[in-house]
Symmetry: C2
Subunit: 209 residues, 2 copies
Amino acid sequence: MELLNHLNWRYATKRYNTTKKISEEAIEQIKTAIQLAPSSYGLQLFEVLHIKDIALREQLKAVGYNQPQITEASDLFVFCHYADAHSSKIDDYLALKAKIQGSAVEDLAEYGTMMKGAIDALSMEEKQIWMAKQVYIALSNGLMACASLGIDSSPMEGFDKAAFDKLLKLEDQGLKSTVILAMGYRSAEDDTQHQAKVRKPLEKLFKTV
Amino acid sequence: MELLNHLNWRYATKRYNTTKKISEEAIEQIKTAIQLAPSSYGLQLFEVLHIKDIALREQLKAVGYNQPQITEASDLFVFCHYADAHSSKIDDYLALKAKIQGSAVEDLAEYGTMMKGAIDALSMEEKQIWMAKQVYIALSNGLMACASLGIDSSPMEGFDKAAFDKLLKLEDQGLKSTVILAMGYRSAEDDTQHQAKVRKPLEKLFKTV
């Protein structure tokens, strides 16, 4: 399976070749893989910021434990989940579903009420955790899209979320930063590319019941 | 890109053909894709239960909102994160890393202390949320492995976690159920396969800054 070759090839890149840029076409394909990620109820309660502003990337690096990937990678995505799972977001989804599937939005009212009821039963913190988890599925799709295009990537959780939210003015946009994806082409000087991948053996990771 | 075709082909399958089983070889490939998923620090603080016991699957279905996939799918994985990120788990990882990469475990002591310090700074709840998020990356790898093998799949969050934990005796094993993956071959009678995929347009999902 080609996918396993891609997964074996990829690694959490530490240093990027700053002169090699990802093509527009490849970025579009990575975005599409992220778009196609499944999410709970299909709601996609997240957005992704593509940070092109170099000065801003320098500022983000300063609150991202100075990790070089933040500025050296060709492209940087900041995944953000919604600050709240407002019922208006569910309505947006229902309108989109009706449009794409050619149904009447009124016919989805009962389904909408069911979803809103389930979501309203959660505390604000539970909603945020639930939304953040969905983002990790999309992150993984992005990682795999990169690998299958021969593009290196670094999923990153180690950053000051409050500082990112402030620099990116996320509160005004009703968003909260979740996780980062840096993408580009590995530097020949990144020693980590030569390290053997460390994974638990299948018989320790899986148990048959 | 082949991956996008696979992602477009897949959908959250509701009804499975109960007579069609996934081959052993394909299961091994799906497991390997899950094994290769990246995780925070590479720690893989989770295990996956492959539920083959039919009577147990019936019991799980009863506490899984009676969703038919739980018993009708060819195979069922229950992803579980550790109940705690014990320092012994970090030591297990360091021992594995030393073995695979041919280094002395003593040379990793400083790295271990750094990881343990970061993890110990989290509350028990924060640790569990953090571990659960990593599981979603592995889940996504499983979904993509299925799709690239022409195997249908259903990621499922809708189940009574406490009841699953009890039925699967997870407390004794230091585990907590996170998310389920049902896999198999779609039934011709599953109407959802004919529904157009609902996804936000790229220009709503992504913002350039």
